[in-house]
């Protein structure tokens, strides 16, 4: 017998819900657009500027991606909203109080690296010849980029936009931290859950899922069809935009925006964390005193889950990636599988968690731990399969063809040819999955009742539901940060050691 919650809603709740969900989309669309405007110039700078600075910038741009969102939320809260943040410069108590603007600043910061990552990849794969051809025909740099490069990269821009949007709609933990009394979709669901309004939780989740699917499908279908209007060029003006001083100004502005709105706010938490080490909180922490006992067991839980999730992902995702990459299902089914793999990215994780918990509750016996593992696996699956699929596709099919006709059975071909050439993607995919799992708050909060993963615990520390000192708070977040940084370093090292591709 499946038990359904009663779906009664009060009028007030209904209104709040409608408002909250609408705001989710407003925030998402606004922030993603701003991210594109700010992120593309930086990606451009990284790719075109070669040399040491570019690599450093590239790594820096990754930071918000690696930092757990809870830490991010807290950092941003401290940076913009507390007296210890940049408010000190203005002599006031806060610059941006918790609320919708702060949420936007948060989402802007953590979606930014998504744009940069995707666009750096796009620019690297882009054949610069197109742009050079445009210039030999008389187009200034700016005109060439505007009329040739960007239109050609439209699919990439679209993908980046949608990913940023997905992240914004989905994020829970950090948003709760900075929301104050404001409610967007995920905050609403979280609050409703804490208040025991199960029906509101279910309905809101459903609406969020459906609305996300609708918006994404609409954008995916319509955007590519928009005809690139007949070209209009303003040569003199665009020429001015191409010259060195203008470019320098543009670069400075991009860097400033990056520093002021993304990097500094993200790293701000390091300061109180370091101070917490200095004032002795660290020794307490390592001794496991007080709240730290629960903290360490949460960390252990988080990492165990992350490890399991990574293994499950590799074991089940690798075969799927191979099948999709080599089109083994035939083109129609491959397209469907492709879309399905993308689904968890589109669907807000919290909503996903709600539906999952609902599903599992009615199936009864599975222990909470495994439900969390499952939830994490579902959410991280896409990252892994996508990364591996792309990497396998890069391995020329001819290599496998040649190996086959030389007598190699599929397993041998995979072991000796495909694997060595994609092992770096495997490693980076695994790291992405691992960090995403450690980071996960949305679905976890929906699914877990008794177990607390590290980020969930930290949300309660930050919100005050579990009372700790500011030092303890900062240090807790700091510990989570450190481990993620280690992951970033490993990722960087892995990326540098990639062998040269291709036959020669």
């Amino acid at each position: 017998m499946i038990s359904l919650p009663s779906l009664a809603l009060s009028a007030v709740t209904l209104n709040s819900m409608k408002r909250a969900v609408t705001w989710s989309f407003i925030i998402g669309l606004t922030v993603s657009s701003l991210d594109i405007l700010a992120g593309v110039p930086l990606a451009w700078l990284i790719v075109r500027k070669r040399g040491h600075w570019a690599t450093i910038l590239d790594s820096l741009a990754d930071i918000p991606f690696i930092v757990p969102t809870v830490a991010l939320g807290f950092s941003i809260l401290e940076f913009w909203s507390s007296p210890d943040g940049i408010a000190q410069l203005f002599g006031s108590n806060n610059v941006v109080p918790p609320g919708v603007v702060l949420i936007m600043l948060l989402h802007f910061a953590f979606s930014y690296p998504v744009i940069v990552r995707v666009m750096v990849g796009e620019f690297l794969n882009y054949r610069e010849t197109y742009e050079i051809a445009a210039r030999t025909l008389g187009a200034s740099s700016f005109t060439a980029v505007r009329t040739v490069t960007l239109p050609i990269l439209r699919p990439g821009l679209l993908a980046a936009f949608l990913l940023a949007l997905a992240r914004s709609l989905s994020e829970t933990g950090a948003t709760i931290v900075v929301a104050g009394t404001f409610e967007n979709g995920t905050v609403f669901i979280s609050n409703a859950r804490n208040s025991g309004l199960t029906s509101a939780v279910v309905i809101a989740s459903l609406i969020l899922i459906l609305a996300s699917l609708a918006v994404f499908s609409a954008i995916k279908l319509i955007a590519p069809r928009i005809r690139i209007a007949p070209l209009k060029v303003w040569p003199n003006f665009e020429r001015k935009l191409s010259n060195s001083p203008t470019v320098a100004v543009r670069n400075i502005v991009s860097l400033t925006i990056f520093l002021a709105f993304v990097l500094l706010p993200c790293l701000f938490i390091a300061l109180p964390a370091i101070m917490a080490v200095a004032n002795g909180t660290a020794t307490e922490a390592f001794a496991g005193a007080g709240p730290w006992k629960a903290f360490w067991s949460s960390m252990l839980l988080s990492y165990t889950i992350a490890g399991l999730v990574t293994v499950v992902n590799i074991v089940s995702g690798l075969p799927l990636a191979i099948l999709v990459a080599r089109n083994r299902f035939g083109s129609k089914i491959t397209k469907l599988v492709d879309a399905l793999v993308d689904l968890p990215i589109v669907v807000p994780s919290l909503a996903l968690g709600v539906s999952l918990s609902f599903f599992w509750r009615n199936m009864g016996s599975l222990p909470e731990f495994w439900v969390i593992v499952l939830a994490h696996t579902t959410i991280t699956y896409s990252y892994f399969v996508r990364t591996m699929t792309a990497s396998i596709q890069e391995v020329q099919p001819e290599l496998e063809d040649a190996a086959k006709t030389l007598g190699a059975l599929p397993l041998r071909t995979f072991r000796k040819i495909t694997m060595p050439l994609t092992k770096y993607a495997l490693l980076s995919g695994a790291i992405l999955v691992f960090t995403r799992s450690v980071d996960e708050t949305g679905a976890t909060s929906a699914v877990s009742k008794t177990l607390k993963t590290a980020p969930i615990l930290l949300v309660s520390w930050i919100r005050g539901t579990i009372s700790v000192t500011p030092s303890e708070r900062a240090l807790g977040v700091g510990f989570l940060l450190v481990t993620s940084f280690l992951a970033l370093v490993v990722l960087r090292v892995v990326a540098i050691r990639k062998p040269s591709r291709g036959v020669g």
């Binding site: 010849t129 197109y130 030999t136 025909l137 008389g138 009329t147 040739v148 060029v233 040569p235």
Partner: protein, 363 residues
């Protein structure tokens, strides 16, 4: 005033010397082909001329003006790329019109010129197609038309036919040449295909390892090459090592390992080590006679309009090409033949210091 004047251009990438002290002058309306093996610097040179790369040293003058500080977009030089580089998101018409649109040319004029181009390249009925719907040859024609539409007079073609089938290449190169003639364009055409260069160039420039080795008309470099490398590169060549045995009355007797050749060449001294170059088509074959050089046919290759024979004359092989024009059935493998080297067609070189194989190496 020459259309293009390059003086002392060098280009280094770290340790790699892509170009070394390259100087070249191209006159107005000239069609110059630059040929050379992969890595010889020919593409780097035209990239420097167009502004895509900057030379490390040297000067480039277009129509008498230095282009050192001129951006690519201001040099007014047409460029056709090896990988064609048509804008995939624009139709054929929009591709052709691009150069005009970025100059804010009035719509009416743009339309007129674009239609003219479509007619010139014979693709009037494909104006609404996208590049990926066209064949390789058609795409390349659009790329050429796109560059011509900007009104440029100087053109740089980087292996423009490289991506095409052999037969299409052979047809398109003449179309390209005719277009250049009709429109009075000055063209620098880079290619690795020596037959392509010989068939359409006014002058051919041969490059090797970043340097210009030789410049001349197609007939000059083919029949009277100044270096062994050129001799071997622009066509198949028999390179025979020998020593000068005697010099008398303006005739030079060369000992080719037993066989003697008398050549009307003065420059060499008795005892000098030399290399003789003679083209396969200048080696005449007759059924075995008493005089002349006797050899055995080792290999016969049918090449349609001619037969290619590899003749074993003892220590070496000589290649001969004989037209199939006359209805003779030719010679068979194992047959004995007499070779006659037409003395007027022989070129003689000093034996190279580093050895023959190294001197003519193609890679």
């Amino acid at each position: 005033m020459p259309a293009l004047d390059i003086t002392g251009v060098s280009k280094t990438y770290g340790e790699i010397h892509a170009l070394e002290d390259v100087s070249l002058r191209v006159e107005d309306r000239e069609y110059v082909c630059i040929i050379g093996p992969s890595g010889c610097g020919k593409s780097t040179l035209i990239r420097c001329i167009s502004g895509i790369e900057q030379p490390s040293q040297g000067e480039i003058y277009v129509d008498g003006k230095s282009v050192k500080r001129t951006l690519i977009e201001d040099r007014q030089i047409g460029y056709v790329f090896q990988d064609i580089a048509l804008f995939p998101h624009l139709t054929v018409r929009d591709n052709l019109a691009y150069g005009l649109v970025v100059r804010r040319t009035p719509t009416k004029e743009t339309r007129t010129v674009t239609n003219e181009m479509l007619g010139l390249i014979n693709l009037r009925d494909r104006s609404r197609s996208y590049p990926n719907e066209l064949s390789g040859g058609a795409q390349q024609k659009v790329a050429v038309g796109r560059a011509i539409a900007t009104g440029a007079h100087l053109f740089l073609l980087d292996e423009p036919l490289g991506a095409l089938d052999a037969i299409v290449r052979a047809e398109l190169r003449y179309e390209l040449r005719k277009l250049a003639s009709d429109l009075g364009l000055t063209v620098i055409h880079v290619t690795h295909d020596q037959e392509e260069a010989l068939s359409i160039a006014d002058r051919v420039v041969i490059m090797k390892s970043g340097r210009i080795i030789e410049v001349g008309s197609p007939a000059e470099i083919y029949h009277n090459p100044k270096t062994l490398f050129t001799a071997n590169f622009v066509g198949e060549a028999n390179l025979l090592e020998g020593r000068v045995a005697n010099v008398e009355n303006g005739l030079c007797t060369v000992d080719l390992g037993g066989h003697l050749l008398n050549l009307p060449i003065h420059r060499f001294k008795v005892g000098e080590r030399v290399v003789i170059m003679i083209r396969p088509e200048s080696v005449e074959l007759t059924p075995q006679a008493e005089k002349g050089w006797i050899g055995t046919v080792k290999q016969v290759t049918f090449l349609g309009s001619l037969n290619r024979y590899v003749i074993d004359v003892g220590r070496i092989n000589i290649i001969s090409e004989v037209s199939t024009k006359e209805h003779s059935t030719g010679f068979g493998v194992g047959e004995s033949v007499s070779l006659l080297l037409k003395e007027d067609s022989v070129t003689m070189f000093q034996y190279p210091e580093e050895g023959l194989e190294k001197e003519v190496a193609l890679e």
